[in-house]
């Protein structure tokens, strides 16, 4: 079943779900999710269409200052909850696995604000996020990425004296012959695209919006 083959009534239901998620109205979103299942609409279409469109709207509203960080958290929670309802009617082997990202501020660096915003935005856009916090040693980041079978490692550094650890993670991945298993995206105040390229990172985000676009480019 494709979106284009749906009736207008069915499309309206998907729009209602999209609108409820974008409005971060969990109760309505849950009711609509059940209606979608009752209407025998393929839930995979709802996940693909309603979730993606809603995430775009939420991201745009955050970008223009209409929504704030807590709204991104709540949107992420809502999508997890409603996603679980919809996925019940999808055979386990047909559930599209979400991409997993391990994110951390590198060792020696206590700055959390930028990393938190990126982490929250990525989650509200449908990625599975393992946020390890601040001052995280390179070895712990790699260990976590292996453990959760992540597709990407995202590293924040706000200090010139901690940027080195972004390179260390990449160098260690190479030494451990794991470099091909993970995309690495970096960011933070002193970090530039040139620096990202010079240390062999796959991606760079100068701000939250660019980080999201970069994650989508690399993983989706």
């Amino acid at each position: 079943m494709e979106y284009t083959s749906l009736t207008d009534k069915e499309k309206a239901l998907l729009d209602s779900l999209k609108d409820a998620i974008a409005a971060i109205d969990t109760e309505i979103a849950k009711v609509v999710a059940h209606k979608i299942l009752d209407a025998k609409i393929d839930p995979r279409i709802a996940l693909k269409y309603s979730f993606a469109e809603a995430a775009e709207i939420v991201g745009a509203k955050f970008d223009c200052g209409e929504l704030f960080l807590p709204h991104l958290v709540m949107a992420g929670d809502l999508m997890e909850e409603v996603g679980t309802i919809l996925e019940k009617d999808i055979p386990p082997n047909e559930i599209q696995k979400k991409k997993t990202i391990v994110i951390a501020t590198v060792q020696g660096d206590m700055h959390s604000v930028g990393k938190n915003i990126v982490s929250t935005m990525l989650r509200s856009s449908g990625f599975i996020i393992h946020d390890m916090g601040v001052d995280v040693p390179s070895s712990a980041i790699i260990q976590k990425a292996k453990e959760v079978k992540a597709e990407m490692i995202a590293l924040s550094s706000l200090l010139t004296t901690t940027m080195h650890y972004q390179k260390e993670v990449i160098d260690d991945l190479v030494s451990m012959k794991l470099r091909d298993q993970f995309k690495v995206m970096i960011g933070g105040g002193p970090v530039t695209r040139q620096y990202a390229e010079s240390i062999g990172a796959d991606g760079y985000g100068k701000d939250v919006i660019e980080a999201l676009e970069e994650a989508k480019r690399l993983l989706l």
């Binding site: 807590p70 660096d109 206590m110 010139t160 004296t161 940027m163 650890y165 105040g189």
Partner: protein
């Protein structure tokens, strides 16, 4: 009145209610938004300055209520540190209303300042925590900053290479070594400027390196201060509290900083102002600060001098200044988006420092473009002079005049905040032989100074 013991705070950090960090963040958001409505707090972009203090008083009361209701989240123990209203009242009253910093003839008194007050404003300038290319350059720039007549102290930075080739890395042995060695240069530079007892401040990425800089002869002294940081927003970790533990044992003044985040969990400008007050209370109660920087950052714009941030920080500062005898640091012009050598740097810096001073704060967080990156020598002594001249010139100014000036300045730079001019390094702005500003920069400085004088800023010189 007595202050709550630090050891009692630690005890509560191990016995308070447990909560997941995400739940604390969302609880703070909800409570902040409720308080915003309950107290009728409203940000009006047309009025970036609260002239009558009505909003400021409401923000102060809401900040007190938030701090008492919510407490401080300890990320180490995942518990909430809470205090009672009586304990908070006692803590505020027991905090000093004046302290002394520096030594000998360079000693200064830093006291509570009133809104529109005539009390001296203490200015600690210098290019805060920035990288320098080599020891000689660092010495020259520090010395130049220390010679500024309107400057009471200076911040240090870091040399990124040891012996010109080995990287300095936070958390590695190179960090302790290099911060300790570079603070010696800072101390020699202020002595060479004829101000051996001047306040010097520096802050390394990790605690061991920060603590290692304290040395009465060659480093930071007990007459300087130690900076402790509260995590945004309304959180603390044992890592932060280690600095407090050292400062209490060592006998050095504790200066706290905390930033609410506009667009973060405090969400709106109104919420960020409330959290700025609550975060300041956290600094004195939990982290035992005697002076503290009250302020905010934008989640998206890399400047502290945005219209919203000017309102958030200045109204929160005003609320604290009007309702307590605490010693507040504003430093609102410390991180412009524009770089040195540009008019916009001077405009942004002036907007922040004028408001900070008029609202009853000192400015002790140095000068620096918001994002320096790994560009070395990205600043000059002239920005320190500017910070000092603006702050001291704004003493005694009233809020009406400050509001007029800030609106004038915002009109000059606000449209360029997303893409501010990059600015130039010391080498491009100063004569390397005479260590004087190049004519272009000196003229630009003089031009902006005369412009602001004509708009009501009463420069002393």
């Amino acid at each position: 009145m007595t202050r709550l013991s630090f050891w009692e705070i630690l005890k509560r950090s191990k016995m308070g209610p447990m909560l997941e960090e995400k739940d604390f963040d969302l609880l703070m958001f909800k409570k902040t938004q409720d308080l915003q409505k309950e107290y009728g707090i409203k940000y009006d972009p047309e009025k970036p300055v609260d002239i009558d203090g009505v909003q400021a008083d409401r923000i102060y009361q809401a900040g007190v209520e938030l701090f008492l209701d919510l407490g401080t989240y300890c990320t180490t123990t995942k518990r909430i540190i809470q205090v009672s209203a009586e304990e908070l009242k006692s803590e505020i009253e027991a905090c000093p209303a004046e302290i002394n910093l520096g030594q000998g003839s360079d000693r200064v008194k830093m006291s509570h300042r009133d809104v529109e007050g005539n009390q001296d404003v203490i200015v600690i300038a210098g290019i805060q925590t920035a990288p320098f290319s080599d020891g000689e350059m660092m010495f020259k720039i520090y010395k130049g900053c220390a010679m500024g007549r309107s400057v009471d102290g200076i911040w240090g930075g870091i040399l990124l290479k040891i012996e010109g080739q080995h990287d300095v890395i936070a958390g590695a042995p190179s960090e302790i070594y290099q911060y300790k060695k570079t603070v010696e240069i800072l101390r020699r530079a202020v002595a060479a400027a004829g101000r051996p007892g001047m306040i010097t401040i520096n802050n390394a990425p990790t605690n061991p390196a920060t603590i290692a800089m304290f040395d009465e002869n060659l480093g930071l002294r007990r007459s300087d201060y130690m900076e402790v940081t509260g995590m945004s927003e309304m959180k603390v970790a044992y890592d932060d509290l280690n600095r407090t533990a050292f400062a209490l044992a060592h006998g050095v003044t504790i200066h706290g900083t905390h930033s609410s985040v506009i667009g973060g969990f405090s969400a709106t400008p109104e919420g960020a102002a409330i959290v700025s007050v609550a975060g300041s209370l956290q600094l004195i109660v939990v982290q035992k600060a005697e002076t503290f920087r009250c302020g905010a950052v934008e989640s998206r714009i890399k400047s502290r001098a945005t219209r919203r941030n000017l309102w958030v920080a200045s109204t929160a500062i005003q609320g604290i200044s009007r309702n307590t005898r605490l010693i507040v640091d504003g430093s609102m012009g410390d991180h412009p988006g524009a770089g040195p050598g540009t008019k916009q740097y001077l405009y942004e810096s002036a907007a922040g420092h004028v408001l900070s001073t008029v609202m009853g704060a000192h400015s002790t967080e140095g000068t620096r473009k918001f994002v320096v990156g790994n560009v070395c020598n990205f600043g000059t002594p002239l920005e320190s002079d500017w910070m000092g001249e603006v702050c001291k010139g704004a003493v005694g100014m009233d809020r009406e005049a400050a509001s007029y000036l800030v609106k004038y300045l915002l009109a000059k730079y606000e449209a360029h905040l997303m893409n501010p001019p990059e600015g130039e390094t010391f080498e491009k702005l100063f004569d390397q032989e005479t260590l004087k500003p190049l004519p272009y920069y000196q003229n630009l400085y003089g031009e902006v100074k005369e412009e602001l004088r004509s708009q009501g800023l009463n420069f002393i010189r």
